[in-house]
């Protein structure tokens, strides 16, 4: 019976649950799905991480390449994020060029990297004006069950912390770069941004970590990204229901506690992996 009701009237079905302060999957409104993290599983990448947030799964692999810095910014390297939502992860995505959503999330990732200063681009410079690193951060969704932004940010941060770059010196005579594969150095991670996404339902109910179903029913979503010094480095609210200032403040507070938990999880996982 419940299944029929859900198919016929999904909104009403959902409303009945929220009235009782609970969600159909048994979570409370502010509860976030169980997060699991696997670091360094892809050996062909310089750094990698697989994150599961409930059923949503994202894998991030980072490849490093040598390149020339631009003439405008000779001391800076590059970090190039890309988010892929392949048809493999959900029936809603079709084969073909990247969907609108994938491009929006990719751009959001680029903004988060730039605004938070997670990696100082100067650290990626090897020889000023001549040689620098470019880090290609490819995030691929393997199973799409909502809240792909939060999952991508966790996987990106964990993979960046996993990166080991070989030491590069430039041969004085020939001017060609020489990589020392024996000596590998971790990246200096300066900030740890963590995203928390909220959904708004019926212009009134506010809940964290929406699933795919909830995202479809929600009248608005809001993503807050914070760093460890309790600064907000990015807010993303693509239209939808307007929120009052006090509710926004609630979201920010919730995001701050969530970010603490995620950072603890990443640190614990990193420490448990032998390098």
């Amino acid at each position: 019976m419940a299944a029929d009701f859900k198919t016929a009237q999904p909104v009403e079905y959902y409303r009945r649950f929220l009235k009782e302060d609970v969600r159909p999957d048994g979570r409370e409104l502010g509860e976030i799905r169980h997060t699991t993290l696997n670091i360094g599983s892809i050996t062909t990448a310089e750094g990698s991480a697989l994150v599961k947030l409930g059923n949503t799964t994202v894998i991030c692999g980072i490849k490093a390449e040598l390149c020339n810095p631009t003439a405008e910014e000779p001391k800076k390297g590059f970090v190039v994020p890309n988010v892929d939502l392949p048809p493999l992860c959900s029936p809603r995505f079709r084969p073909g060029p990247p969907s609108e959503q994938a491009q929006v999330v990719s751009q959001l990732m680029a903004d988060i990297i730039e605004n938070s200063g997670v990696v100082a681009l100067e650290d990626l410079c090897i020889v000023e004006g001549k040689l620098c690193w470019v880090l290609y951060c490819d995030m691929m969704c393997l199973d799409y069950d909502g809240n792909v932004v939060d999952t991508c940010v966790i996987s990106l941060l964990a993979a960046l912390k996993n990166v080991l770059l070989p030491e590069v010196t430039v041969n004085e005579e020939t001017g060609s770069p020489v990589t020392d594969v024996e000596k590998k150095l971790p990246l200096n991670i300066r900030k740890c941004p963590v995203a928390t996404t909220f959904g708004v339902f019926d212009d009134h109910y506010l809940f964290t970590d929406p699933t795919n179903e909830e995202e479809c029913l929600a009248t608005g979503v809001l993503t807050v990204v914070t760093t460890e010094d309790n600064k907000i480095c990015c807010m993303h609210k693509p239209g939808g229901t307007a929120l009052s200032e006090s509710r926004l403040q609630d979201c920010i507070n919730r995001a701050l506690t969530r970010a603490e938990e995620v950072r603890k999880l990443i640190d614990e996982t990193i420490n448990s992996v032998e390098r």
Binding site: A45, G61, P87, L88, P91, M140, L142, D143
Partner: protein
């Protein structure tokens, strides 16, 4: 190959295997919730993921509809971070297109498509880490995913490679052995009926040696089948136990 011995004097290969030994195979079925069927496989350091959607109605291009059978649609892609050098095009390049086509041909031959007229079955495979035998890992993963989706097949399809290096046949070629430039054979077969579904070789091999290599590859497919079959049976009994317990 200068300075690199593919087979040592004692008869061991670079990764310590004997010539007719497979790499370790790890598999999981039903790994994802969104797909109708999914599977993950690790063959040594090659890691592949397959998901199956369908059978569902034919999307875009009504012209593709077949009135007597289902259309099988395959897409192969390699993650940009799966290889030593970063891949700039994860899918859509010629090699991936060829791979997609081979997968489609393989699965059209084994899935009982006559049962689902006017519908479509999507098989998506993704290589997460590549270390030789990509096609094989994809076929094996896709077989498990199709089984997980409950789509009837005539038989399993198992794939395996066999090469001919330093005058001896080698089973399940790794990336290093692949790049040594020696001929190798890719075989996909139905192990129960012993029928070959796909066979590919892209270099020169003396006709007298063909039989030896093919025999080894066939044996490899049967070995893979034994492993896959055990995984399927374990998976089914596990899910059965879960269902009866609740």
């Amino acid at each position: 190959m200068a300075g690199l011995e593919i087979i040592s004097d004692q008869g061991y290969r670079i990764d310590g295997r004997r010539s007719s030994e497979l790499r370790k195979v790890c598999a999981r079925m039903g790994v994802f919730t969104q797909a109708d069927g999914s599977a993950y496989i690790e063959q040594g350091n090659t890691k592949a993921l397959a998901t199956v959607y369908g059978p569902h109605e034919v999307r875009k291009g009504r012209g593709k509809i077949q009135h007597d059978r289902a259309v099988v649609n395959c897409q192969f892609s390699m993650a940009t971070f799966s290889t030593g050098e970063r891949k700039s095009r994860p899918k859509g390049d010629r090699r991936s297109q060829e791979m997609s086509m081979h997968l489609r041909q393989t699965f059209e031959a084994v899935i009982v498509t006559e049962l689902f007229p006017r519908s479509q079955i999507d098989i998506y495979v993704q290589i997460l880490q590549a270390d030789g035998g990509n096609y094989c890992a994809c076929v094996n993963a896709a077989t498990l995913a199709v089984i997980d989706a409950g789509i009837p097949m005539k038989d399993y399809v198992c794939a395996c490679t066999a090469g001919f290096i330093q005058d001896s046949p080698l089973l399940d070629i790794s990336y290093v052995e692949e790049s040594a430039g020696a001929p190798f054979l890719t075989v996909a077969m139905m192990p129960k009926s012993e029928q070959i579904v796909l066979l590919e070789m892209n270099s020169r091999l003396h006709a007298d040696n063909m039989e030896k290599v093919l025999d080894l590859a066939t044996q490899g497919c049967k070995d893979v089948f034994a492993v896959l079959d055990r995984h399927v049976r374990d998976h089914v009994s596990e899910s059965h136990a879960l269902m009866t317990a609740s």
